[in-house]
């Protein structure tokens, strides 16, 4: 353990920035979950596996088709999103109106199958994916060396998060979507194809997970369990933020990244549990989450 006074402000800033980077990932992943829960009322436990598939999609594109990072940033989410829509159409749609627990079990099962298949073919240690040439290297900020690629992930994820929030909360499409969630029957009466809207929304949420996967590929090893390790934390983020709250998941994701970064400095042993401690505290004080509306 490092004593409190031993921390220089430089180290503190560095850890805060690293926390922000991780927070950006949390935000992007929990955003997808929040969209899916908010619109479909499904607790999507397959999210981690789909995030992993996004990273593997980028790897496939590079190794089998020589398609680099930038096109993969678009193609992988589209491909994986399409797979997500197939999952929604063939399986999840049958669970409409049933208790949450069924959706949870189904998506959890799907996650296990996907991860098992990938592990069978690719092993546990995974595959390397290089940082794109344009973003190689880094900048010395004085208090830390910031790799260009990490800076890019933070800016890009925050941009995507805000765009999503805007699309859902401030545009006409978003208002139709919210109406479809609130009262599907009435929305149908207005001539909106609600089932198609729901399928597209699930596909979009899955696409966000895959996008996070592509962003993660150059940082982490691309390996079958990369999502399984992350998904529990991301769920905690969603619960703290308030299930289904779009802005809640974005802000909470970034905040928890920062808190985790600080914990790594002051008491590293607790870095893995601090998120859950906060979750317990939040549930005790505000059961609906920080940004959630009371049920």
């Amino acid at each position: 353990m490092i004593p409190l006074l031993g921390i220089t402000t430089q180290a503190l800033f560095a850890q805060l920035l690293v926390g922000l980077i991780n927070g950006a990932f949390y935000a992007l992943l929990s955003l997808g979950l929040a969209v899916i829960f908010g619109m479909l009322n499904i607790v999507n436990f397959a999210h981690g596996a789909l995030y992993m598939m996004g990273a593997f999609a980028a790897w496939f594109l590079l190794n089998y088709f020589h398609i680099g990072y930038w096109p993969a940033l678009v193609l992988a989410p589209l491909g994986v999103g399409l797979i997500g829509m197939v999952i929604e159409r063939t399986m999840l749609t049958r669970l409409a109106g049933l208790d949450h627990i069924y959706g949870l079990l189904l998506t959890f099962g799907i996650a296990l199958i996907i991860q098992g298949l990938f592990q069978n073919y690719f092993g546990a240690s995974g595959q390397p994916y290089p940082v794109p040439d344009l973003l190689k290297g880094g900048a010395n900020l004085g208090f830390m060396y910031l790799p260009n690629y990490r800076a890019w992930t933070v800016l890009f994820s925050i941009a995507v998060c805000l765009a999503t929030w805007f699309a859902i909360e401030k545009t006409r499409l978003g208002s139709v979507l919210r109406a479809a969630t609130e009262n599907p029957q009435l929305t149908r009466a207005f001539g909106v194809n609600v089932p198609r809207l729901i399928t597209l929304t699930y596909g979009f949420g899955v696409g966000l997970a895959a996008l996070a996967g592509v962003l993660a590929a150059p940082i982490y090893q691309v390996r079958p369990l990369m999502g399984a390790d992350l998904i529990v934390v991301v769920f905690a983020v969603v619960v703290i933020g308030g299930m289904g709250s779009i802005m809640g998941s974005i802000v909470t994701g970034l905040l928890l990244g920062l808190v985790e970064g600080l914990t790594k400095v002051f008491y590293p042993q607790a870095a893995n549990t601090v998120v859950f401690v906060i979750m317990v505290l939040v549930l005790l004080v505000r059961p609906a989450g920080l940004f959630g509306k009371k049920a």
Partner: protein, 401 residues
């Protein structure tokens, strides 16, 4: 009279059981099948065990050998329960691999209690032949001392006289850091600090930044498997080596090099008991193994060690005849020199340490690699007597001083 009949019946049953036990060996491979170490051991450890059974020739001599395997999930309770269940239900006379020091230290106790045999290949903690040594356990392939003594000493001698550790936060990482610290200090270096990271940690940027700020010449990675791969990959991202600091992968396996790719791993030193491309025999074993693997992977030293250990165990069992006495088998194993295709010649010390040469390898540059899995070149061969902790320093109660 009644008692006599009951006694006779009981006697018959016991001899019946003894008959059933005859010429049967139950082998259990307890390993990480799904976690960060699954490529180092995992299904490959079971493949290696099956190869040893096939190569031993015991089946042709009328022995029946059963092989089971299971995933301990890197959880001490899961591993302990499996070991206990296997032994209690007669499914395992010998337990192999146990790729996780936490699990291995627990299973070590259970096997000793039940007088079976424990052949550790994957777990690293040198405590298994130190203060936790057991008459039923042989530590086969490598340990934290041999890793420290190989990679740690070489880097310190090459001018890396100040160290900072990034350590896996459990029994293994702590043992590896402790043993490396001792070697670094003995070689004239100093340790500036350390930071813990949990097992299966994806993001090492926080730890790497602290290591970078320490200005230590060498950053020692006291972790393994996917953790090492992630740490090395991210160290490149943060410009650690460009800044003049060296990375020391204190425990790196060939499967990690494969996962990282030569571009990221080039120039790293690592210490190993087995490398497939050492000589004709190791190549032959490596190729046979790779053919049985779904992904065509060459064996890691852990998998080679499972093979080597089981070959020797089966030799001892054949020499001794059927017995349920694990300690007797282990002492027979200690009395015989070891020899097999994968790890060559060696012997087993009284503290349960298997002795053989260790190789300090360096990962090749991408341009030097001529064929698949051509990943490393030998820098130094350490004779067994130098590679492992001398008996004089042993804390093992089995060692008579």
């Amino acid at each position: 009279m009644k008692h006599l009949v009951a006694g006779a019946a009981l006697g018959l049953m016991l001899t019946g059981a003894a008959f059933a036990q005859e010429k049967v060996v139950n082998v259990g491979v307890l390993t990480d099948m799904s976690g960060p170490y699954a490529d180092v051991g995992g299904a490959g450890s079971t493949v290696a065990a099956q190869m040893a059974i096939d190569d031993s020739g015991l089946i042709a001599k009328g022995w029946k050998i059963n092989l089971i395997s299971a995933d301990h999930q890197n959880k001490v309770d899961v591993g302990s329960n499996l070991a206990r269940e296997w032994i209690d239900q007669g499914k395992a006379d010998v337990i192999l691999d146990s790729l996780n020091s936490g699990v291995a230290l627990a299973v070590n106790q259970i096997v000793k209690e039940k007088n079976k045999v424990f052949l550790v290949s994957g777990a690293a903690s040198s405590d298994l032949t130190g203060k936790s040594c057991s008459p039923n356990t042989i530590h086969w392939t490598y340990d934290t001392f041999s890793q420290a003594n190989g990679t740690g000493k070489a880097l310190t001698k090459a001018g890396g006289d100040s160290w900072y550790f990034i350590t896996a936060d459990y029994a293994f990482g702590k043992a590896l850091e402790r043993d490396t610290t001792a070697v670094v200090k003995a070689t004239g270096g100093k340790v500036l600090g350390d930071v813990m990271a949990p097992l299966n940690n994806a993001d090492f940027s926080s730890q790497l930044l602290q290591a970078q700020a320490s200005k230590a010449k060498v950053i020692g990675l006291a972790n393994a498997g996917a953790d090492t791969a992630n740490a090395i990959k991210q160290a490149a991202e943060f410009g650690i080596t460009q800044g003049g600091q060296n990375l020391a992968a204190l425990l790196m396996f060939i499967t990690d090099v494969h996962a990282l790719g030569l571009q990221a791993a080039q120039g790293l030193d690592f210490t190993t008991a087995y490398y497939w491309d050492l000589n004709d025999k190791t190549r032959d074993f490596g190729n046979r193994f790779a053919q049985k693997m779904k992904n065509g992977a060459k064996p890691s030293m852990v998998q080679a060690g499972v093979y080597s250990a089981l070959i020797h165990y089966l030799k001892a069992v054949e020499a001794l005849g059927p017995t349920g006495d694990g300690a007797a088998i282990v002492s027979t194993m200690k009395s015989m020199p070891t020899e097999d295709e994968a790890m060559g010649k060696g012997y087993i010390r009284q503290d349960g340490r298997k002795i053989h040469p260790m190789y300090l390898l360096q990962v090749k540059k991408p341009s030097e690699s001529k064929y698949p899995w051509d990943y490393a070149k030998v820098v130094l061969t350490l004779p067994g007597e130098e590679a492992f902790r001398p008996l004089a320093q042993s804390e093992c109660p089995l060692v008579k001083k």
